[in-house]
């Protein structure tokens, strides 16, 4: 399914926040149609990577590059990256009181696609996606994430992804805070949106979601660097052993 073209490449990326180096040389190569999972202990830098990929102003890339379709995007504003086809599902989505999900997403889609879309046309597009993801239509009229439960916010992130149709989606702990049924709903939702031209980088602590969003590669990040990569079995091994044991084995193997 994966084509040969490596359209997303992170090369020796170093990132600082307030002069602390958090990412210490991350490498990752993603082809079209591939799913990559990134796992790693709390505070290892996964969200830092996600934010940096989307262009958060507090995260300063001090070395390395991030190539999207061959172009270094590190100097680009977040909205330009969105227009290029990059999407980030936030670990902690923000609320925008007073702005309905429908209005927000219509504005967003117009901005990303850079074309007009009639209210009626958009409404249909949105409702189709809501039905696909089994999200109650009532959410279209509610203020974006305002008063939503943790799980509802996560499902809205997936809805946004479905509406905006990105080429690359970075999903930061889309499964955390979800009950077991919701993990299945979200997982199935993601795989129903996925298509051969789309790539996903999914950050998670647990293999459960990966049963629905089956990764081609699993990477383990520790202390701001990817220390180990493998196939799906690495996620299961990790679950069985925990980071401590797994990483000791890795260290021994590499020394």
């Amino acid at each position: 399914m994966a084509t040969e073209q490596p359209f997303f490449l992170i090369d020796d990326l170093h990132v600082e926040i307030e002069e602390n180096e958090i990412l210490q040389g991350v490498d990752l190569s993603v082809k079209r149609g591939e799913i990559h999972a990134i796992m790693g202990p709390n505070g290892s830098g996964k969200s830092t990577l996600a934010h940096t990929l989307m262009g958060h102003p507090s995260y300063e890339a001090t070395a390395g590059q991030v190539l999207f379709n061959g172009e270094d995007i590190l100097e680009r504003d977040p909205n330009d990256r969105a227009k290029l086809g990059i999407f980030l599902a936030f670990q902690y989505p923000l609320a925008i009181p007073g702005v309905s999900t429908l209005n927000f997403l219509r504005t967003s889609l117009k901005a990303v696609k850079q074309e007009e879309i009639s209210a009626r046309q958009f409404r249909k597009h949105l409702l189709d996606k809501m039905d696909l993801l089994k999200i109650s239509r009532e959410f279209a009229g509610r203020y974006l994430n305002d008063g939503f439960s943790g799980g509802e916010k996560k499902r809205m992130e997936i809805l946004q992804m479905a509406v905006l149709e990105p080429e690359l989606a970075v999903l930061d702990e889309i499964d955390s805070g979800l009950d077991i049924d919701a993990i299945r709903a979200v997982g199935e939702g993601i795989s129903s949106i996925m298509h051969p031209e789309m790539s996903i980088v999914i950050i998670t602590h647990y293999p459960r979601i990966l049963h629905y969003v089956k990764p081609d590669y699993v990477h383990i990040m520790v202390d701001g660097k990817i220390r180990q990569s493998g196939g799906f079995e690495l996620a299961e091994e990790l679950e069985a052993k925990g980071y401590d044991v797994l990483l000791k084995e890795v260290m021994q193997a590499s020394s």
Partner: protein
Amino acid sequence: MAVTEKDIQESKKVYKEKYGFADPEQAIYKAPKGLDPERVIEISQMKNEPEWMLNFRLKSLEIFNKKPVPKWGADLDKIPFEDLSYFVRTTEKQGTTWEDVPEYIKDTFDKLGIPEAERKFLAGVSAQYESEVVYHSIQKDLEAKGVIFLSTEEGLEQHPELFRQYFGTVIPSADNKFAAMNGAFWSGGSFVYVPPGVQVTIPLQAYFRINAEQMGQFERTLIIVDEGAYVHYVEGCTAPVYSTDSFHSGVIEIIVQKNARCRYTTIQNWSTNVYNLVTQRSAVYEGGVMEWVDANLGSNITMKYPSVYLMEPGAKGDILSIAYAGDGQVLDAGGKAIHVAPNTSSKIISKSISQHGGRTSFRGLLKIYKGAERSKSAMRCDALILDQESRSDTYPTIEIEEEQVNLGHEAVVSRIGEDQLFYLMSRGLSESEAAGMIVSGFIEPIVKELPMEYAVEMNRLIQLQMDKAVG
């Protein structure tokens, strides 16, 4: 958010093109500058007023001269009282069709979209240019039901008894310095009477335009909503951008009779060289409802606190306000609720936005007199500050003489956070679009109270003020 001087100039330019254009002055009479009693007599004579009104004016001038400039709010010491013209007449007669209005004035109102709005969604229109109403109209069926919608001068002339019964009763000239000033120089404004039981379901609108440089506009409005009746009155205003200051000081008195309801909506969009000091107050009787919806976007300094006096049991008053202060602007707004009778209720809700060094202040007064037991009141103000240069303050005052009351008070000041902007930008919005969206969401609870056409206009005006590159 990095806002450059260029952005600010750009947004001012947009105002100038859309609303701030000026016509060459073509007054047929412009009073000499200054605050002499002679000016007052002259205005009264030009309007052929009865003697009691002349006396009211002269008395008001005395009060104005005695009262000091208030020191508790914005800095008013720079108001150039001696340099202003207090009366400018542009036409001998008011039109009841736009053809009757001098061509250049009609063009101005065309540009501002008034005749179009009138055709589409208004029950009546009053258009004031400089000191006087130049055009007014009301739908025939309302007129047939006895609804009166006239300029204030015509109200005095055509309905002398009704007029005199209420004029100056809700806001006497002794109330404050600027109410006194209005009492002396008042000109224009609306006189509205809605007979018992009559529902005016679509809005009446008054539009106020200052065109002359260094001018004082003193509209005076009197609205009487008789038992069980309803009316929604909307006012809008704009002015050209000049380097000198102009002055607008209105007085709006509203009487809401038993079980009647009145909504008064303001969309204030003066250019930033206008001082805007307005006193608006309503007396509400048994079971009546007064709603002020007050949006202040323009002006150099605004001081304005719509008030409700809840006079009889069951009276209710809501005051919703939005203020936006940009570069060099001081918007001092809020509301006052005075509970005189038992079982009365009030709500004061304010939303303010400050940006580009602007300053907003919320001033709320809640007073519950002895005897107003079982009254309820809620006061809430939310301030949103968009950058480091801007500022917001809240000054709530609560005076309670009664124990059995139910009160709530809340004030929240917040800044637009980097993370919120980042979230929206990650969805394709530019930084200014993102800020615009956060602001329009912030004011939504109040904007949704406006008729649809005004809600759209309101959002557009705010976005226009915030940054040029939106939409």
